[in-house]
Symmetry: C2
Subunit: 360 residues, 2 copies
C-alpha cells in the first residue's frame, strides 16, 4: 500500500477529463439515436502507477468510421457476426492515437500507434497487445491516409480486388458505393489491373468525383434511376464479369440478371441492409442465375487475411507514392460527432472515407 | 439422281414408325401439360441412302430425366440459361441408343452410344459428332447405371463434392433433395470423404432410404417440419460446413442462418424454383451472413467440366465395383411416359434417378 500513497497534488496532475461514447441500448433496426449511444464525460487518471503492466495510456487522435460498426449494436448476431458491444460499456473502434504513458518497453511516450481496440473516448488505457502497428511520423503519409487507403477501407478494397476477386484485364467491373471508403479505392485498383470500371453512386456530385478524381470509366447515380435493369443494360452491353458488392439487396439482384459466365462477386459488405433485421431485408430472388452462369459469390472479412496486411501496405504505399491511388477523406471534428458520422455512412450525404479527428 | 432410285419395296423395309415429343408452346411457370409438350407419331426412313455423311440412325433405348430439362421450355433465358427448345421441334435429351445405320466409319450397327443430343423419339438421325461415348456391353455395368451413377446426376454429384465443394473429413454436410438422382450419389461421396452427412428429403420413405441404403448419418422429411430453423439446429448443433444445394429458396435461406465460418455452398440446381418466373421466386434475405461467415457459394454446370469426365468415370466405376456407391433408379416404360416422368421430378413422388426405357 505504501508505494501507492501519493499527495493529492501529484495525482491531480495526471487526471484528465475524457468524453466517451457508451452503449445504452441495442438498436435492432432503423437509424441509431442517442437512445442507443450516449456521450458522457469521465475523469481518468493517467498516472504511471495506474497503468497496468503491458498497458498503454493513449490519447486518441483519429477514428475510422466504418459501416461494420453498425452491426455491433443490433443486439443479435446475424449478418456480419461481429461480437456485440456490451451494454453500458464504452464502444471500441479502429483508429490512431498517441502514447501518453507506457508500461511496455516496446512503446514510449509520443509514439503514434494504430489499434482496432481504441475506445471511442478522448483517452483510454489498453493492453499493448491490442496495438496493430506503430506509425512512422517521417513516412510522408498523413495520418488520415493511414486510416483510408492504408487502413480498413483500403485493405478491404485490396482484398476484394487482389485476393478474393482477381478480375482479369479487360473485365467489365461494377463497384457499388463507388465513392465510399472501400469503393473509391477498389475502383482505382481495378483500373490499375486494366479493367473497364463502372461505379454506382448515390448523387451527381459523387458521380462526378468517381469519374474525375478516381478514374472510373463511367457510372450512374442510382437515386436518379427508376429502372436498374435498364441502367445495367446501358452500361454493360457485354454483361458484368465482376461485381464488388458493398450494398446487397436490390442492386445485387439486378446484377445477377446481367452477369456473364464465371462472374465473380466478392461480398465486402451490404450497407443497404444493416439497419434492418434480416427478415425485413430485400430477398434476392434470382440466385438460380448463379447456376446457369456458374457465378462465384464469396464473403470476406479483414481479420481472416491479416497475414496479408504487410503485402497490402507495401503495394498500396507504392500506388500512393506514384499517384495511382488517391483518396477522398471527410474529416469530422470532435468526438461529439460520432453518432452523426456513423449515420452519415448510411445516407447519401457522405463522400469518401469518413474519419473523426478527436480534437480540433 | 440414278443412284438414289430405289424400288418402293426396298425403301419400305427401312421405314419405321417413331413416336416423338415436340414443343407446342412455352410454359413460363407451373406444371407443364400436353398444352406445351405433345406426343406425335411420324414415319421415318432409316435407309442408308437417307443418312447424311457423318450421321447415325439411332434406336433410342433409355432417356435420362433431369430437372434442367424443365428450364429449356420456359421461353425465357433466366436461371439456368440453357438454350430454349424451339417451337414445333422435337425436344432433345441425354440418353443411350443403339446404332441402326452408320454413315461414319467409327461406328457400326449395334454399337451402344451415349449422347446429350438424342431426340425424345423412338428413332432419330444425329451427327456422329454429338456422340458422347460408346458403351462397352461387356463392362458389367447396366445401361441404367450409365445414366445414373455414371451419367448426368453422378457427374453432377461428383463435381459438387470433389471439384467445386471439396469438403474436409469431419465436415458437417447437408444435402437437399437427398434421395434424388444427384443427392443420393453426393451423400455417398461425402461419406467416403469422412464427412458427417445429413439429408433433407420429401417423404418418410425417402428418409428411410437415405439412411438404410445410401449411408447418410441422419436426415429429415421437410414436409413434416414446420420450422426449418429448429430442424437445422437439431441436426447441426455445431453448424453447417458444407451444403450441396439442389433446391434453392427457403432451404437455402435457412441454411445461411446455420453456416459455419468458411462454409462452402456449391449450387447444383434449384428444383424448388424451376416452375416459377424469377420475380415470383422466394427471395433469400440473409445473404449478409455470407459476409460475416465468409461463405463461398458457387454455381456449376456439367458442360464446363467435361474435360474431367474421364477422371470421374474411372473413380465412380471403382466405387461401384467396390460397392461403395449404390443407386436407386426408377424406370418408367414407354416414351409415352415422358411428360409424367419429367413432372415427377418436381413432386414428392419419385425416388432416386428417373429414367425412361423407351420400349418395354
Amino acid at each position: 500500500m505504501g508505494e501507492e500513497v501519493k499527495s493529492k497534488g501529484e495525482e491531480e496532475t495526471w487526471m484528465v477529463e475524457s468524453k466517451e461514447w457508451y452503449l445504452l441500448s441495442y438498436a435492432p433496426h432503423g437509424v441509431p439515436t442517442t437512445d442507443h449511444l450516449k456521450l458522457r464525460s469521465v475523469c481518468l487518471s493517467l498516472s504511471p502507477q495506474s497503468i497496468p503492466h503491458a498497458h498503454l495510456a493513449i490519447e486518441t487522435l483519429f477514428f475510422s468510421i466504418d459501416p461494420y460498426l453498425r452491426s455491433r449494436f443490433t443486439g443479435n448476431l446475424d449478418g456480419l457476426y461481429f461480437p456485440q458491444f456490451e451494454l453500458n460499456q464504452v464502444i471500441t473502434i479502429f483508429g490512431i492515437g498517441r502514447v501518453k504513458v507506457s508500461n511496455d518497453s516496446k512503446y514510449k511516450e509520443g509514439d503514434l500507434i494504430m489499434s482496432a481496440s481504441l475506445l471511442v473516448a478522448e483517452y483510454c488505457v489498453i493492453p499493448s497487445s491490442e496495438i496493430f502497428g506503430k506509425i512512422d511520423a517521417a513516412s510522408g503519409i498523413s495520418l488520415p491516409d493511414y486510416l483510408s487507403s492504408l487502413g480498413v477501407p483500403g485493405f478491404a478494397a485490396w482484398l476484394g480486388i487482389e485476393v478474393v476477386g482477381d478480375p482479369k484485364p479487360g473485365s467489365n467491373v461494377l463497384i457499388s458505393a463507388a465513392s465510399g471508403g472501400v469503393g473509391m479505392i477498389a475502383g482505382q485498383l481495378a483500373k490499375i489491373r486494366g479493367c473497364r470500371v463502372i461505379g454506382s453512386t448515390g448523387s451527381d456530385e459523387k458521380l462526378r468525383l468517381i469519374k474525375e478524381e478516381f478514374g472510373y470509366d463511367d457510372g450512374f447515380n442510382y437515386n436518379k434511376e427508376t429502372d436498374l435493369d435498364a441502367v445495367l443494360t446501358k452500361f454493360f452491353p457485354n454483361g458484368i464479369d465482376f461485381y464488388l458488392d458493398n450494398v446487397g439487396g436490390k442492386m445485387l439482384e439486378s446484377v445477377l440478371n446481367h452477369v456473364n459466365k464465371y462472374a465473380r462477386i466478392p461480398l465486402c459488405g451490404m450497407i443497404s441492409q444493416y439497419n434492418q433485421v434480416w427478415t425485413e431485408r430485400d430477398g434476392v430472388r434470382n440466385l438460380l442465375n448463379m447456376v446457369g452462369k456458374e457465378v462465384r459469390m464469396e464473403g470476406f472479412l479483414l481479420k481472416t487475411h491479416f497475414n496479408r496486411f504487410g503485402d497490402f501496405a507495401k503495394e498500396m504505399e507504392g500506388h500512393m507514392k506514384e499517384g495511382r491511388v488517391k483518396s477522398k477523406i471527410k474529416i469530422n471534428t470532435g468526438i461529439e460527432t460520432f453518432l452523426d458520422s456513423l449515420n452519415s455512412l448510411f445516407s447519401a450525404s457522405n463522400i469518401g472515407k469518413v474519419l473523426i479527428q478527436v480534437k480540433a
